[in-house]
Symmetry: C2
Subunit: 356 residues, 2 copies
């Protein structure tokens, strides 16, 4: 079953988005079973909606306790995934679904990381990838996507324009693999929650760098599933960290007003620079139901956070350091906090250092 | 015990290099025990000379079978290590040793990847890192090393000059962590052999991108240890792949003459551009005793190999693709071949793509 995050309609069959209102869908499993077995994302196959058809050893990332910090703070280092970001978790599940359906071509709109991930997995699975990228993606990410032999389409404008262009492909029988426009993507991402749970139980707070809202939604969903199965006895407070330049989720959470795209969006946090977040509603719902909150961070705070993480041995791209930057801006959370570090610093090495 | 790769002298105590002739040393364990337990490099603690004191989840990298290739060819994807190269395996062991000895500062000479690895682990372990780099290291690698807060010293000249400068530090009570100048480094690297063995037994051929000769020596040593323990019943043919611009190991292997540094060394294979390979003698011995060989590859062959790997979903830096480039140049090896892909393409993303 699939539930619309906006109108709540339930659908039996797979759709990219709600056929009724056009919003993102969440997969609602009725045969979930907690039986971890093996390694990485597919260790949780009994909680996933499709069978494994393509894997490149995604997931199983380190959870490192920060030293010299009085409170218990952990880093979940997602840059250690095969293409350097958490996206690989979702891509593995989504492409496993695509392959079941005999797809030959996959289209994706991306701020860079998702495009690299889909391009890599398509290459590995011998599928054709068409990647739609906004104008301001860093050269290193473009080089990575090109390396995987993907067909790359640069669009004038931001992520939204890339999505619009990608959607035109759907009419041509192409499979769409973008976060928020494919409910199976979040199914891969929710394994972050399972891994954290297996290592430390339920932490008190999780801070998530947030663009589309997909990762935050998925981590919350993962913990909710564990609770509904009676495996976990609670869920963590979910905190969204957005770049101040594009923080529609934080603003809507704060104002209780509808999501509204910001006018301009310019920041070194290119990976989370999303004006119209497809999983915004579900992210806000997760923040509210868990007693969480939203935090905006400025570029200079991201730069300091990148440096601080580096001095602990973790090289993060600017967006990925938003969780640490946000941690510094909120009242010290009680108990144990996990900061999701979403992508490797090698994805955009000069943003926070060389160019600054 | 430690055995000199040149004069054969045995030493009871730890030295960086042979006190008699100044060459590299190999650790010879007399209490090795094959008892894999856990994950990553430290799964093999019973085969390692020191106890674990610092780990960032190194090792445990994917071994992926290439598709659409008639022969059985596998990629060992070392770019999936925490800092993006195989060096992390050695660094974890070396710094575990350094910490046992109460060291506070670590010096390393590097073509970039080793420097990044040592810088990251030092940051994590709260040690000071001093990294000596040749002039031609790519910007992305420099940015990565800076991100870890290391003290970075650019030297005029190549890797040899960086080593010379680093050695001056030893007098100041600083710990030296460079391949070939610290026998424990190879102890970490040899775990590549153990992982391959556990997944597929003994392959027929392993092709290794080769600069100092340390990785090739270590992989051979790992298999030899398994054979001496009666765990494995043979060792693979070891093939060294060097950049034509700096191929002293291949030349000495071919000519049976002593190792001779090349005049000039310019290539996109910056990570293996080493004129005076400290583990050259042991690498050549491994190639000979295993029936292996040496292959030189040109820059254009590296560029094609990077593209070919990319189209299979693996983004490699140019040096890391030397194994595939060499595979194409030798007579089709019989049986099963493993290509070591030593570092991530994100380490130097523009070399083979953007700038070409």
């Amino acid at each position: 079953m699939f539930r619309c995050i906006n109108c709540g309609a339930m659908h039996h069959d797979f759709h990219y988005i709600c056929p009724r209102c056009g919003s993102a869908l969440l997969f609602i499993g009725d045969r979930l079973l907690w039986k971890p077995e093996g390694v990485g994302v597919w260790r949780y196959r009994s909680m996933l909606p499709v069978e494994r058809r393509v894997t490149m050893y995604e997931g199983g990332t380190p959870l490192i306790r920060r030293r010299d910090v009085k409170d218990e703070v952990y880093l979940k280092v997602e840059g250690n995934n095969p293409t350097g970001s958490f996206k690989d978790r979702g891509t593995s599940v989504v492409l496993s679904h695509a392959l079941r359906d005999g797809v030959r071509t996959v289209a994706v709109a991306s701020t860079g990381n998702m495009g690299a991930s889909v391009a890599a997995y398509c290459a590995y699975a011998n599928l054709t990838a068409r990647v739609f990228l906004p104008a301001d993606v860093p050269d290193e990410k473009v080089a990575q996507i090109r390396a995987y032999g993907a067909c790359l389409v640069r669009v004038e404008g931001g992520f939204q324009e890339a999505v619009r262009r990608m959607k035109e492909e759907a009419d041509k029988g192409v499979y769409l693999a973008t976060t928020g426009l494919n409910p199976y993507f979040l199914e891969g991402l929710k394994t972050v929650a399972y891994e954290i749970f297996e290592e430390m139980g339920v932490p008190d707070t999780i801070i998530v760098p947030t663009g589309t809202g997909g990762l935050l939604t998925a981590i919350h969903k993962g913990f909710e599933e564990l609770r509904s199965l009676g495996v976990a006895d609670g869920t963590p407070r979910m905190v969204a960290a957005q770049a101040a330049a594009a923080a529609p989720i934080v603003e809507a959470w704060r104002s209780h007003a509808p999501l509204r795209p910001p006018e301009e969006a310019e920041s070194i946090a290119s990976a989370i620079l999303v004006k119209e977040p497809y999983n915004g509603l579900s992210a806000i719902a997760a923040m509210r139901s868990s007693g969480g909150l939203g935090v905006e961070v400025e570029d200079d705070e991201l730069i300091s956070a990148v440096r601080e993480l580096g001095k602990e041995g973790v090289f993060a791209e600017p967006s990925a350091a938003a969780s640490l930057a946000a941690y510094h801006k909120i009242e010290r959370p009680p108990g144990r906090t996990v900061l999701i570090v979403t992508g490797s610093g090698l994805k955009d090495p000069l943003a926070a250092l060389g160019r600054s």
